[in-house]
Subunit: 306 residues, 2 copies
């Protein structure tokens, strides 16, 4: 569809400084790509950058932020899958499936009592579309959720109550599960650190489906090692792929997955379709969907303040 | 509470032929206990048998069925936990957590796309309280469920549609997940066999939280080995504990758990409380709760036909 009305260049981060010259729009397939900054001097005609991901932290840099170039993301593709994934991780902890798999490998019949999730409490950091989808899904199975976000709100349709980031440490002692689903910004970087872990229940588990750098990894390793918290399921890491030397791979009660919580069979066509829809808007001069507030670092949630 | 108004004898299956003599009521803690039949001649005063489980197949035998002794079960304790457990197993398959754990053990960063559960189809065999709780939970996260039970019903509050057992093979081709949650009776024994597996999608998974003997194990092993179906999560087995010689322990895409889907931290006190409540009814001459229809082999669901 795009090829019929435009000159399309398929390029790589390495060739971008050459291929970006004269281009009106840039579609970044790899949300981890940091190559746009290095090619920025060649962006002589660029009006629009679209990212095939939810988080734009890797793509965004000061010169892009300060320019007139519009940045859009792929909001709408990953929310539902990630919410299902988080629910699966919650149940994996509650029902101790890891223990069951381990016993099975040894042909060991080891009966245990496990945890109910009905009525258990979840603090979700991040009240954008992903945090909201997680909140709705966990509530639908009887969990008590609350949100931590930029804007305090008493009657939120998805969360019930949203409290400000400054209340995080005060709310963590109530949580059985803590879900990190914030975009990575100056405000959220390192929000899970020694002092926030110290506020959590020793029985609590952290689930990170946002960005690795929301968590101070060293502090997390210490908190897990010292029993400050009971476990962590990590789909994102400050360095990806996670280096084989990382202690996280082998710590008990740590589930490592390779940044895949939102990636379902069919997500690539869905991402392509979303871009094409936006391209149609752009061609016809209509407003683009999913425009990132480059100062905030994410797409503000309409009428809810993100 | 019971001890203050009655002579209480704590006994074992071995000592039951001696201790049952003169007893008015028998509380069977182990739902697997088959010792009541061997002690039956000593049941000279017995009026009531209560089982601390949902299925009464092991405890029930012809002479008990044909007697005036009332049999009650522990309906109300296990439904919610089992529904959560089944949802966890569904997500374990859909999100390939077993593959993720295996990659983690090898420090292997192996990105995959996984399945959505939203919109996928589930056939639940068994429309008693456990099947109903499973249906409600799976529907709440967007799965399309239908029930197979004794009585056909077009507008069921939990299932939407319930079809008769004779429709099982006709409905299986539509299912992504098949949940076995029936009581074990003459009608349901071996209902999952070579011919029902042949009706399932090659991509479908079987989840058994009912009784092992609902499934013909040999046929299941063959169906899994030959790719007739894609996987099975089994919490119950025709022989428990599952013998170490069973091929199920090591088959790929088979999850073995030790009959624990309903057992949560707090289930033992809940089971005791349920018995004490019923004991109060019995003392005061009020109708007992959870009376098993001994001919059917389970507690009929009120106004819904089980």
């Amino acid at each position: 569809m795009v090829e019929s009305g435009a000159e399309v260049r398929y390029t790589t981060a390495e060739r971008l400084p050459e291929d970006l010259r004269g281009a009106d729009a840039l579609f970044v397939w790899d949300f981890r790509c940091t190559g746009v900054e290095a090619a920025w001097l060649a962006a002589d005609a660029l009006q629009w950058v679209h990212v095939a991901g939810a988080g734009v932290d890797a793509v965004l840099f000061p010169a892009l932020r300060d320019s007139d170039v519009v940045l859009t993301n792929s909001r709408g593709v990953f929310e539902g899958p990630i919410a299902e994934y988080v629910l699966g991780l919650v149940l994996t902890f509650a029902k101790d499936f890891a223990g069951t798999f381990a016993a099975q490998r040894e042909r060991r019949w080891q009966h245990r009592e496990t945890e109910r999730i009905d009525g258990s409490a979840v603090v979700i950091a991040g009240t954008g579309p992903i945090g909201r989808a997680v909140a709705r899904t966990l509530r639908s199975v009887g969990m008590r959720v609350e949100g931590i976000g930029r804007t305090r709100r008493d009657h939120d349709p998805d969360f019930g109550v949203v409290r400000g980031f400054d209340q995080l440490t005060r709310r963590l002692p109530h949580a059985d599960f803590v879900v990190a689903a914030s975009p990575l910004t100056e405000r959220t970087e390192g929000m899970f650190n020694a002092s926030t872990f110290a506020a959590m229940k020793p029985s609590a588990r952290l689930i990170n489906v946002g960005r690795g750098a929301l968590v101070v990894t060293e502090d997390l390793v210490a908190a897990l090692r010292d029993g400050v918290i009971a476990g962590a399921a990590l789909d994102v890491f400050d360095t990806e792929p996670l280096p084989t030397s990382s202690p996280l791979w082998t710590m008990p009660a740590v589930l490592v997955s390779p940044h895949m919580s939102g990636d379902f069979v069919g997500s690539l066509p869905a991402l392509a379709e979303l871009f094409v829809d936006n391209y149609r808007c752009w061609l016809s001069g209509n407003p683009l969907r999913n425009v990132v507030d480059k100062r905030l670092g994410y797409v503000p949630t309409r009428a809810s303040g993100g």
